[in-house]
Amino acid sequence: MQALPAFRYFAPTSVDEALGLLAELGGEAMPAAGGTDLVPSMRQGLFAPKSVISLQAVDALRRIGWDDGAGLEIGALATLREVAADAEVRRRFPFVARAAHAVGSPQLREMGTVGGNLCLDTRCTFYNQSQGWRDTRGACVKTGGEFCKASPNGRARKCFAVFSADLATALVAADARVTLRSARGTRTLALAEFYTGDGAKPNARAPDELVTGVSIPARMQDVFGTYLKYRVRQSIDYPIAGVALTLRADAARRVGDEVRLVVGGVTSRPLVVGAVAELLRGRSLDDALIEQAAALARKAATPLANTAGDRAHRREMVHEMTRRALREALNHAQ
């Protein structure tokens, strides 16, 4: 860790004020919510924004609320602790509360926000290091170089840094939509579409945009959901594999159209494994089907040696967590 580089600090108190600053400062500014991801990265010299726009005082973005029509709306500034503790979230989407609670430690959940979790930077052994450490190996794709240091032979021209946000993975499974605002206007898109799959530029936020909130459609409240996080320690650690599943099955355990399996912690995005949904749709859940589905998830999850943990084991854990998630769904349906 090194000293924070110098920057201008802004603390707007309204969304419009924040958007005005972003429009004016553009690519030279970075918004900061809880700062739990941004500040350590700045101290490692990964970002050196000329301006930091703190959103801490933008109280309008803190709200968590349920509406029978609009569903669950969570402001970007709601903290992970607030989401994990919120009565509506716990009642209607317990797996979302669980995913929020799985992040870091109490201190990190107290500061970390939903918006920050959605915009979490991708991570890599060769990237999340000090300037001095990285200098010994030269720049990687994510730091402006030509090749990915984690790729076999170091010849890939793409960044494979890993997306590890627990809550975001669960929210993608919940078919959440994300709202982005800028001085130019407002857009909402499916959270799954927010992620690019490019480790170097993991999400679609434009420099002048602010993630203002996320919503889960009302129909999802009676869909079974779960989030399983596999890690070595009981706290702090990022997921070795995070698996989120939403699924609606009838009394005969037949899976309906509403089914999503999302894997975090192994690729550069919350990985929606479409093949699993296709396999399950219209079929009756049983052990054999679960095995097939888990094998498909494993096949889709292709980690590089770029985070802690043995590569083969990480894939195996995708398999195992998928299997466990589906068994939970099966038990729930019975």
């Binding site: 860790m1 000293a3 110098a6 000090s130 450490w133 190996r137 320690r233 009981q234």
Partner: protein, 765 residues
């Protein structure tokens, strides 16, 4: 010999002397020291694992506004320091030998300027072939790290003779006739174990603020376990007399052996002398993981011969400790060798122990000091022997465990050794009915031995005019609570309450010499000096009272801060009367002192070649039983409970003991399951607490502990130590429990889930 029940202070709960200061945040640590006009230092570090330094150009850095000094090896004396072999300078000279080695240092008006200046230093390197594995480093033709090794100063002549190539220390122990022993054996077991590098994970990084005082003396405010040794090392490195240096240690934010080092002091001192201003040098957390010291990674081979009934007959032991690029504590492998038989009676033993240079960050002292490595091997193999011979693992250990009065393979006689009782008590506490508890759940047992205490120390106990006492000891409190324990020892001896004793520690101007707190020396050795000094003060007090009261000293008793006649308590004087105005009439002030070295005679040269020290004062023992549950599918290990029974002699501070046992367990769990400083091509890949993964609060299971009553004749009130022995059994106990739970034997640490899954797959075929 009194038991704990007879004591007023010893063995009783008491508030830590630093409790309030630490809870309120008032306690001053080295990084809290801000002096007027203080400069900030940063170190330029090698990006190469092994390279010749062709040139260093500091001109640009020196021209940067705000930079006050830039130093390289050319600006400091060509002097080296180390433990057995003096191999390391303040800065790399001619060559760099690991990624992270100090090449130059800058002092500037602020941290940012210092960091910017470091980047402006231009170094031209000529990379050399590097070697990262100790066994490869021992091969002929391997890259040699220290070409002039034979020319370095060594502290032991025998050590010097054994040094060659990349081997910087070698010890051999031979007792009995191993060939004959194997011939007599019914079974011979041969296993290889490997263990990783583990960082001590103290929260507070290494830090020194160096200042030059009004008299021109160098003053070092630092975080250390060994202020007096730091004083001597800085003196030797910078060529200034010891008396011109004062080390003022601050509260230590965890040491665990890792602060039994000299890392920031010399460079900070050199910069302060150069600039004549205070200079602060604090390691970043990354520097902690790349440029401080870790537990030595090691490879251990055991070949052990056993009778059908489980009697150990012979053992051949090879220890290869990966020392890294310099050898600040090569003798870790010596401690490993002493404990490599486990606490067992083995008639025929041969040990060969090597400390080997590699192009990696240094191995150093860390809680357990060389023993967690060898004990993991010994206790893992003991379980294998038990399983293959169909003997209960506790019975096998009971059958072979050593007792007081017996001699170790080193020839040292054990003063006290109740390992047997620790096994019995632990077995009783867990209600042992065998290791298996249920599907995927089991117990694992391990016991161990640690050479405890010894070496030079001293203490002064002054009686104050108000009847209280002030203890001065050079031994450091590194957070383990030594200050409180020293106060209890003096209080008990002088008939005071613990709160009546002020303890001054560490400051080299105010305290007498101590060699440093390591190897369970604190309570046992420094405490014995405090006790003897307090007894000296008591004798003086009694002599003074004898004159005042007209009663023979032998007829006087102490209590309630009074001296009084036996059988006539009304005939007495308060300490304050004796020591206040009175003391000037009846002789001088009361000052007790003691100067001791609890180290015993040298090891028998017939048995031992290359001993790194004289014999230790005594030995501590413990048994740990871990209860684990293993998830077969993920390989995740959940440690449900740990039971620990220690033979640590008399318990002086029960809360301190509990803290040491839980702390040791935590370190041991990290070693067993999580922590690993991963080095690839010489570079530390995970230089952070996030990625190196010491256990966090949720990972530490409930602990049940007890002690077996024991009085060690060499320690104060019979006390031994517990800091090191509390670590050494955890990894093998967990490994053994994992095998009993799921049938997977993992022979390399840490026992990560992927290794368990792989072992299970292999077992399933």
């Amino acid at each position: 010999m009194g038991g704990p029940a007879d004591y007023a202070v010893i063995g009783k709960r008491t508030t830590r002397t630093d409790a309030v200061a630490k809870v309120t945040g008032e306690a001053r640590y080295a990084t809290d020291v801000y002096l007027p006009k203080m400069l900030w230092a940063r170190v330029l570090r090698s990006p190469h694992a092994h390279a010749r330094i062709v040139s260093i150009d500091t001109a640009k850095a020196r021209r940067l506004p705000g930079v006050k000094a830039v130093l390289t090896a050319q600006d400091v004396p060509d002097a080296r320091y180390g433990a057995l072999v003096l191999d390391m300078g303040i800065f790399a000279r001619d060559k760099v030998r690991y990624i992270g080695e100090a090449v130059a240092a800058v002092a500037a008006q602020d941290e940012e300027t210092a960091a910017a200046a470091v980047k402006l230093i231009e170094v031209e390197y000529d990379p050399l072939p590097a070697v990262f594995d100790p066994l490869q480093a021992m091969q002929p033709g391997a890259p040699v790290l220290h070409e002039n090794l034979k020319g370095y100063t060594t502290l032991f002549e025998r050590t010097a003779r054994a040094m060659s190539g990349n081997v910087n220390y070698q010890a051999d122990i031979a007792r009995g006739d191993v060939a004959a022993g194997f011939a007599e054996s019914d079974h011979v077991f041969e296993d290889t174990y490997t263990v990783q590098k583990q960082h001590p994970s103290y929260m507070e990084p290494n830090s020194t603020v160096a200042d030059v005082d009004a008299d021109g003396r160098l003053v070092l405010y630092n975080t250390t376990q060994r202020p007096h040794i730091n004083q001597a090392i800085v003196s030797a490195l910078l060529g200034i007399p010891i008396s011109r240096i004062r080390v003022v240690p601050c509260h230590v934010g965890g040491g665990f052996g890792g602060k039994n080092r000299t890392l920031t002091e010399p460079a900070a001192a050199a910069l302060a002398l150069k600039t004549r201003r205070p200079v602060r040098l604090t390691f970043s957390h990354e520097e902690e993981f790349t440029s401080a010291t870790t537990r030595h990674a090691a490879l251990i081979r055991l070949r052990t011969g056993v009778k059908r009934d489980g009697t150990l007959v012979a053992s051949e032991i090879s220890l290869y400790y990966d020392c890294g690029a310099y050898a600040p504590t090569p003798n870790a492998v010596w401690l490993g060798a002493i404990s490599s038989t486990g606490p067992y009676r083995i008639p025929h033993v041969r040990v060969e122990a090597f400390s080997v240079y590699t192009n990696k960050m240094m191995g150093g002292a860390f809680r357990g000091y060389g023993v967690p490595q060898s004990n993991f091997a010994r206790e893992s193999q003991m379980d294998r022997i038990a399983r293959e011979l169909g003997i209960d693992p506790i019975e096998l250990r009971l059958k072979n465990c050593i007792g007081a009065g017996e001699r170790l393979h080193t020839g040292q006689r054990l003063h006290s050794a109740r390992v047997r009782e620790t096994l019995l008590r632990a077995r009783e506490m867990v209600g042992w009915q065998g290791a298996q508890l249920g599907p995927n759940r089991a117990l694992g047992v391990a016991c161990g031995m640690f050479a405890c205490g010894g070496f030079a120390t001293s203490a002064i106990v002054r009686m104050n005019m108000d009847g209280t006492a002030t203890v001065a000891t050079g031994a450091m409190d590194m957070g383990q609570g030594l200050r409180t324990v020293m106060g209890q020892i003096a209080a008990e001896t002088l008939g005071l309450e613990a709160a009546d004793v002020t303890v001054v520690i560490g400051d080299t101007d105010l305290t007498p010499f101590d060699v440093g707190i390591f190897g369970d020396r604190g309570t046992h050795t420094a405490g014995q000096a405090v006790k003897l000094a307090a007894e000296d003060a008591r004798e003086q007090l009694l002599a003074s009272a004898s004159v005042a009261l007209g009663v023979a000293p032998g007829e006087l008793l102490l209590g309630g801060k009074r001296v009084f006649a036996r059988g006539a308590p009304e005939r007495g004087l308060r300490y304050s009367d004796l020591l206040g105005g009175g003391q000037y009439k009846r002789g001088g002030p009361v000052i007790g002192k003691a100067s001791i070295n609890l180290t015993e005679e040298p090891f028998d040269p017939v048995l031992v070649r290359g001993a790194a020290s004289k014999m230790f004062s005594t030995h501590t023992f413990a048994t740990h039983i871990a209860e684990v549950e293993v998830d077969r599918a993920t390989g995740a290990v959940k440690v449900l409970k740990v039971t620990a029974v220690h033979d640590c002699g008399t318990v002086i501070n029960p809360d301190g003991l509990k803290g040491q046992i839980i702390g040791g367990l935590t370190s041991g769990l990290g070693y067993a399951l999580y922590e690993d400083v991963v080095i690839e091509s010489g570079q530390v890949m995970n230089p952070s607490f996030l990625e190196c993964r010491p256990p966090a609060a949720l990972d530490v299971p409930p602990v049940e502990f007890d002690t077996v009553e024991e009085f060690d004749s060499r320690g104060p009130f019979g006390a031994k130590g517990v800091g090191n022995v509390s670590v050494i059994n955890v990894a093998p106990a967990v490994a053994n429990a994992v095998e009993h739970a799921v049938g997977a034997r993992v022979t390399s640490l840490p026992i990560t889930p992927d290794k368990i899954v792989r072992a299970l797959r292999a077992a399933e075929g």
